[in-house]
Every structure is written in structure tokens, then in C-alpha cells.
């Protein structure tokens, strides 16, 4: 899957780049689904010594085993594949805690994964100049319901139903790095029951 070009409309949304290997005391790579491709692309330009100091945390999601064996064969010092971000979260926090000065952090895949890992990395004191991010794969959004504050993952339509309170929400183009989420606001607040048909905006 090719790299995603986002429309330039949302000022609060992070701008994603392209992963490049940098010299560092360690390399922490966190990716989900098609995000594996960004790591595999980066692998074409590094020598074997790079991987000894690398730790790959990978969440395949719907891609199953499509990329996991290729990633494992890169020979990273540590390799982990987990079923969900939530399941991997403890390990991610520990890996960030164990980072030494000069560790490089590489994030790739969905905005949800990159946003959450970015917030964790920042909270752990990793300087933003040592964090790279590359978007690959689904453009589904992680949404926070502004009313009940619950997070709904992998939203592809507008409007959508909040998975916590059940209100129909529209997707406001406003992004919080702290929450790693876009804002969802009740679509029929001014005219209850008048809910527009769902449109698939994100895939």
C-alpha cells in the first residue's frame, strides 16, 4: 500500500514523514498493520549492525501473518508481535522507560497507533526530534466523543455511533495529540433524530 497523502485541511493534525534510519544508541520501532512496509523499506538502506540494537513492536491487526515473518527475519535484538495496541501497551511503556539517551523512535502505520505511541514517548521524555512517524495503511480515525469522553477506534464513516454512549457523532476536523484522537460531536443535537446517512470517508 502506498504512502498516504492527507488533504492539508486540519491545522491540529500532525504531519507525517518518511522513516529514515538515523544513528542512535538504540532503535525502538512500533508499527501496526501496513506500517510494517515502512520498516521493511527502511531495512533496504541499513547494514546488519543496525538491527542488533533494534526492538520491533508490531501489531499485525487485519494483515495477519502477511508481514510478521519478514519483520522477524530482519534479526532485531528484540521482536514482539501482539494482538492489539492495548495488549502491547505495558511493553511499549517499559521499552520507552528502558531507552537510553540517543535512542531513536520509529512509528509507522495507522494514526491511532502513531498518536498513542507518540503521546507515550513524549510522556516518557523522548525528545520530539528523536521520534519519526510515517503513515501507512488505513486512514480510519480514532475518535473521542466530546460528550461522554469515550474513545471509538477505527472509525471509517461520518457520522458514526459512539461505542460507549451510542450517540450519533459527526467527525470534527480537530485533533488532540494528548488524546491521540479526533473530536466527535453529536450530529443531530439541534434536530434530534435527524441523522444523515453514513458516508464512508476513511478506509
Amino acid at each position: 500500500m502506498s504512502k498516504t497523502q492527507f488533504p492539508p485541511s486540519i491545522t491540529s493534525r500532525p504531519v507525517y514523514g518518511e522513516l529514515e534510519a538515523r544513528s542512535g544508541s538504540g532503535h525502538l520501532m512500533i508499527a501496526d498493520a501496513e506500517g510494517a512496509e515502512a520498516i521493511l523499506d527502511l531495512a533496504k538502506s541499513v547494514d546488519q549492525g543496525f538491527w542488533a540494537k533494534a526492538h520491533i513492536i508490531y501489531i499485525p491487526k487485519k494483515t495477519g501473518t502477511k508481514y510478521s515473518s519478514q519483520l522477524e527475519e530482519l534479526g532485531a535484538g528484540q521482536y514482539y508481535a501482539g494482538p492489539s495496541y492495548e495488549a502491547a501497551q505495558g511493553r511499549i511503556r517499559r521499552a520507552l522507560l528502558d531507552c537510553h539517551m540517543g535512542t531513536q523512535v520509529y512509528l509507522s502505520g495507522t494514526e491511532s497507533l502513531m498518536g498513542q505511541a507518540m503521546a507515550e514517548a513524549t510522556a516518557a521524555g523522548i525528545p520530539h526530534t528523536a521520534i519519526q512517524a510515517e503513515h501507512r495503511g488505513s486512514t480510519a480515525r480514532r475518535m473521542q466523543c466530546v460528550h461522554c469522553k469515550g474513545i471509538t477506534e477505527d472509525v471509517t464513516t461520518d457520522p458514526f455511533e459512539c461505542s460507549h454512549c451510542g450517540l450519533s457523532l459527526f467527525v470534527r476536523d480537530h485533533y488532540s495529540r494528548r488524546l491521540a484522537a479526533f473530536q466527535g460531536v453529536r450530529v443531530d443535537a439541534e434536530d434530534p433524530g435527524n441523522i444523515p446517512e453514513k458516508v464512508e470517508l476513511f478506509k
Binding site: V146, H147, L167, D173, H174, S176, R177, L179, A189, E190
Partner: protein, 348 residues
């Protein structure tokens, strides 16, 4: 003068009302017959005795009831007041700024007595008499920012300054025009303004930020902003939009004068001395259309501004559906005669 404080509500039965005094001093935001965004900053110096620009922090007849409404909103949703850990010192700066200004400018209502760091604060309208140690959080019932902003009208955004940007790292937000502190906390100036249409392309935010970064201690600035609110609702938060949004329905030629309110924000900006943070009070004033048209110049001008406002702005400000009705109702009060420059009522 001694202020007679109203006993009124900003929700439920909506008993909020402006006296003739409050109408006359209302900060009407339009200095000409049309409106477009601008960086309309001016020094926040004392101006026009009796007006809302006279004092550092204006106290009016709504003070006590607004503070009750704030306490109610906070009890329902404590996340309306947040302060990231590095902002506590800025909170103390704010305590000092507000207490000193109020005690100096309203000596009949507020007193501040200092004995070194031991301070005694008397707030007569709210019946508060507290003694605490300045810079010692354990001696106040709330964090310093929350403590003083539970006693001061208007929302407060406390902005940290670093990397040539301003960061919304603390705030007390219960009277807002549809933005969420809980969502926006930690954002920089451009990020929290992301949903505003047009102004980014016009370069408004780049110029405004440049101005704000250079605000010096003792040289505060101010500007007015405005929107529309149906019913005198202070808490028009996105959190509760699913409860108040429906109020925009059901306006008629008969009830619009009573229900539709012009909502004006007096925004001020102060540099804080110890933290170098910027505090951004956003004070909300409401006036019903019925009260507003008692000033003929304002009636004529509001009609023209609302009629000619670009559609994107009417949409962003949330009154596009009700605009035709507003214009029709206001047109009754516009005979087409010219209006004088500036925001003040004509003296006749």
C-alpha cells in the same frame, strides 16, 4: 457605586436579566456596519468610566449568580478546570494579579491584607474570608488557579510560552463558545484554533501570535469577539451541546426578541511575572435582542452586520439556520439612516 447583585439563573428557567445600567454599558462589538476577522487588539487601559473597559477585571450585577453557575457546571463536570503540573506557579501569579487588582479597584467589595507571604483575602459578595500562605498550595481549598477563578467572572486560559508558541496548559472554562478545554489542553496556538474557518488563510493567527508573544508585564491588551446564543446560557460547551443545541429550534417572530442573545467576549491578555505565562481571560456578556434594540444605533447596525455576514462565519458561529429570522426581526428597527462610527450609543 455599590453594585446590586442579581439573583438569577443561566440555565433551566433562565431568569438572567440586564438592568438599564447593564444595557447601557454593554460592550457592543461592532464599530462599523460590517464585520470581518481582524487582529483587533488595543491596550487594556482604563477607559470610559462606568464601561466594562474601566477596570482590570470588570465586576457587574451578574457576579454572584455567575459564580454559582460556575460551581454548578464544575460539580457536573470537574474536567472544565485543568492545570498541567508545570502550571502551578502561573496559577499563583494569577491569584496575585486578580486579588491585587480587585482590592485596589473595588475596595468596598474586596480586601487583600499581606503580612509577608501570609495573605488574608476578603471577598464580601461571596462571603469569603480566607487566610493562606502565598505559594503554598496546601493552604488553599483548591489549586491556586481554580481558587481564584471560582471567584472571578469569565473563562481563563493560562498559556505557557515556549518554542516561540503559546500552549494551552491550564484553564477554567465554563462559559465558553463551544470549545472544549479537556480536548484542547496541551495544544499550541495554531492547533487549538484549527476549527476556525478562513482566519488561517488570512494570516490572522500568525499575526495574533506574534503580538501575544510580545506582551510585556504591566502592559495588558484586549479585544472583543462575539457570537450568538439562544437563551442566556453561559455554558455553551461542546460537552453539553447535545443538551443545548436543540434550543436553537423554535424561534419565532414573537419570541426571538426575548430568547435570542448577542454574546460578546471581552478578551484580555496579561503577562504573568514569575512564570512568564500569558493569562487570557475570556469574559462573556449576554444581551437579549429586545434589550439591544433599545439602543437605536445598535439595532440598525446589528441588522446590517448579520444580514451581510459571510456565510462561512454564520455557519461557524452556529446561527446560519436562524439568520433569516434574525434579519427579518431586526429589519423592523433599521430605517436605513446612517450610524455613527465606533461602538458607543449616540448620546441623544
Amino acid at each position: 457605586m455599590t453594585i446590586q447583585f442579581n439573583d438569577e439563573t443561566f440555565h433551566g428557567d433562565f431568569t438572567f436579566k440586564n438592568s438599564d445600567w447593564a444595557i447601557k454599558r454593554f460592550p457592543f462589538p461592532f464599530h462599523e456596519d460590517s464585520y470581518m476577522y481582524s487582529v483587533n487588539m488595543e491596550p487594556h487601559t482604563s477607559y470610559r468610566p462606568g464601561s466594562v473597559f474601566e477596570r482590570t477585571f470588570d465586576v457587574d450585577e451578574h457576579y454572584v449568580s455567575e459564580m454559582k453557575d460556575r460551581a454548578r457546571v464544575l460539580a457536573n463536570d470537574p474536567l472544565r478546570c485543568q492545570s498541567l503540573p508545570h502550571m502551578t506557579l502561573a496559577g499563583w501569579d494569577l491569584v496575585e494579579l486578580i486579588m491585587e487588582a480587585k482590592a485596589r479597584e473595588y475596595p468596598d467589595l474586596f480586601e487583600l491584607h499581606k503580612d509577608g507571604n501570609r495573605w488574608r483575602w476578603i471577598n464580601k459578595p461571596l462571603g469569603i474570608d480566607d487566610t493562606f500562605t502565598f505559594l503554598d498550595e496546601s493552604t488553599l481549598p483548591y489549586g491556586p488557579m481554580e481558587y481564584i477563578t471560582r471567584q472571578t467572572q469569565g473563562d481563563f486560559a493560562v498559556l505557557d510560552q515556549r518554542d516561540d508558541n503559546l500552549w494551552m496548559d491550564a484553564g477554567m472554562v465554563t462559559t465558553q463558545a463551544d470549545w472544549s478545554l479537556d480536548f484542547d489542553i496541551g495544544m499550541n496556538f495554531f492547533e487549538w484554533h484549527a476549527p476556525v474557518p478562513k482566519a488561517h488563510e488570512m494570516g490572522i493567527f500568525v499575526r495574533a501570535l506574534k503580538f501575544l508573544l510580545n506582551i510585556q508585564q504591566g502592559q495588558p491588551a484586549r479585544r472583543l469577539n462575539w457570537t450568538m446564543t439562544v437563551n442566556p446560557l453561559l455554558d455553551t460547551s461542546p460537552e453539553n451541546y447535545h443538551k443545548w443545541g436543540v434550543m436553537k429550534q423554535g424561534l419565532t417572530m414573537e419570541n426571538i426578541g426575548d430568547k435570542q442573545h448577542l454574546r460578546v467576549e471581552l478578551q484580555t491578555f496579561f503577562r504573568l511575572p514569575r512564570s512568564n505565562a500569558l493569562v487570557f481571560p475570556i469574559r462573556c456578556y449576554l444581551i437579549s435582542f429586545n434589550d439591544l434594540v433599545t439602543v437605536p444605533k445598535w439595532a440598525r447596525r446589528l441588522h446590517r452586520v448579520i444580514r451581510d455576514l459571510p456565510e462561512e462565519l454564520a455557519t461557524y458561529k452556529g446561527f446560519i439556520d436562524n439568520r433569516p429570522l434574525m434579519v427579518e426581526w431586526l429589519s423592523q428597527f433599521d430605517d436605513g439612516s446612517p450610524t455613527s462610527d465606533g461602538i458607543w450609543p449616540d448620546d441623544d
